[in-house]
């Protein structure tokens, strides 16, 4: 049975924890705003690059860039974006499980021949997969503390290099897409080879008679890597915002739980206190009675 002092000590302990979770929630909220701004300001770029690319592919009807070449998917690169830090609810576990399921279901044959390689962004994914039977080719831990476009473009550059040397045949990104503060969606996106543009979405722009400098194909060739950069960059910042959102929600819940815990502990404390007072009074009264009768 807990003594009064034990309960008091627990209340103080829970209060301290509550203060920490509250502070973490506030920090996540402040960072989230900046991350959201990042997403919003990155959108025009990726939208325009896609638009120009789609229009180009529509008028030229060719997609004979090496980056669009569909090969027999023998060597798979899976890019997994998690977070560097914990305390964000099921954020990391969700994405890790999604990636693991996908690999085990879709790429069973490739796993057996040892042709699935992982690239982990964020420490948590690396920690999980490195303890298991997976081949990790790249570990990009700690990129989220200072997220820069160069991180994405350098990585994409190395992927393009590997793809053209046929060291990989297909690359997919698994990440959490930011939807709102309380919601993020598990997303699997194909990075390489670049899939042909969706015909229905192409804006009919073919009648504009452009001057192409130097020519259509060179422009497409120079645009495609940049398009990939923007996909990768988008995935990274979306995941980061989703992480902060998840942390905010988790810490909010923790703060609420702590509040509830403090409430019940206080009730127990008061009951206990009352009981001990009653007991003391009883003792005094019965002591006084004994004296009187004696």
């Amino acid at each position: 049975m807990a003594t009064l002092r034990d309960i008091k000590r627990r209340i103080v302990g829970v209060k301290n924890t509550q203060q920490i979770t509250k502070a973490m929630k506030m920090v996540a909220a402040a960072k989230l705003r900046r991350a959201q701004d990042n997403i919003v300001s990155a959108r025009p770029y990726s939208r325009m690059i896609r638009k120009i690319l789609n229009n180009l592919l529509a008028v030229s009807k060719i997609a004979e860039n090496p980056l669009t070449e569909k090969r027999n998917a023998e060597k798979i690169a899976v890019i997994i974006i998690t977070s560097d830090r914990g305390l964000c609810g099921s954020f990391n576990m969700n994405i890790i499980r999604e990636a693991e399921d996908m690999i085990k279901q879709e790429y069973k044959a490739q796993i057996e021949t040892g042709n699935v390689v992982l690239y982990c962004f964020g420490k948590k994914g690396y920690e999980y997969f490195s303890k298991r039977d997976f081949k990790i080719e790249g570990n990009y831990s700690g990129v989220f503390s200072e997220l820069k476009f160069e991180v994405a473009s350098k990585f994409v550059n190395s992927m393009i290099h590997k793809f053209s040397k046929k060291e990989i045949d297909k690359a997919v990104i698994v990440y959490n897409k930011f939807k709102s503060v309380i919601q993020h969606d598990k997303t699997i996106e194909q990075l390489l080879p670049i899939e042909a543009a969706d015909e229905t979405k192409i804006e009919n722009n073919a009648e504009v008679d452009y001057i192409y400098e130097p020519d259509k194909i060179s422009i497409i060739n120079s645009l495609l890597p940049k398009y990939l950069n923007s996909i990768m960059w988008q995935a990274l910042i979306e995941s980061y915002a989703a992480e902060l959102g998840a942390r905010m929600t988790a810490m909010d819940m923790a703060t609420e739980n702590a509040k509830e815990l403090i409430r019940t502990l206080n009730i127990t404390y008061n009951k206990e206190r009352q009981a001990s007072i009653t007991k003391e009074i009883l003792e005094i009264v019965s002591g006084a009675d004994a004296l009187k009768n004696g």
Binding site: Y45, M48, I52, F149, D209, I211, E213, S218, I219, S222
Partner: protein, 135 residues
């Protein structure tokens, strides 16, 4: 007024959005200038300098590491991966990276990514050039 609308978009922000008189860009086939009523053009851009002349006839310069330009109906869209004004250029850093790139190019390393090293040298030289032009 013979104004054209210019938008410069980078992955991190909308860097410029407004009316201008002319813009000069480092096209793949050579530097060229867009003025009022330019024919529709789509061009890829190289590492180099962008010169913007605003409506008050004031010129401003930026360095870029390449991108794409689309112009039609006096609307110019510049998609660039990086855009730096002379004030943003860190001369010391540019000089250091020039040195590094030169060393890498002169070393006889078989694993050397020739294109990457050359590009980083070009970027550094471009920054230094822009910096000296303004200062």
């Amino acid at each position: 007024m013979k104004e054209i609308h210019l938008e410069i978009v980078t992955p991190s922000k909308m860097a410029f959005n407004g009316e201008i008189l002319s813009v000069k860009v480092p096209g793949t086939k050579g530097s060229f200038q867009i003025l009022f009523n330019h024919a529709p053009i789509l061009s890829s851009l190289e590492i180099g300098m962008i010169k913007i002349v605003d409506v008050e006839n004031k010129a401003s310069y930026f360095s870029t590491s390449g991108g794409t330009l689309e112009a039609k109906n006096n609307n110019v869209i510049l998609l660039v991966e990086s855009l730096e004004s002379p004030e943003e250029i860190n001369l010391k850093r540019a000089e250091e990276s020039m040195q590094r790139a030169k060393e890498r190019l002169s070393s006889k390393n078989a694993n050397l990514d020739q294109v990457r090293a050359e590009n980083s040298l070009k970027r550094a030289l471009n920054r230094i050039k822009l910096y000296n032009k303004i200062k």
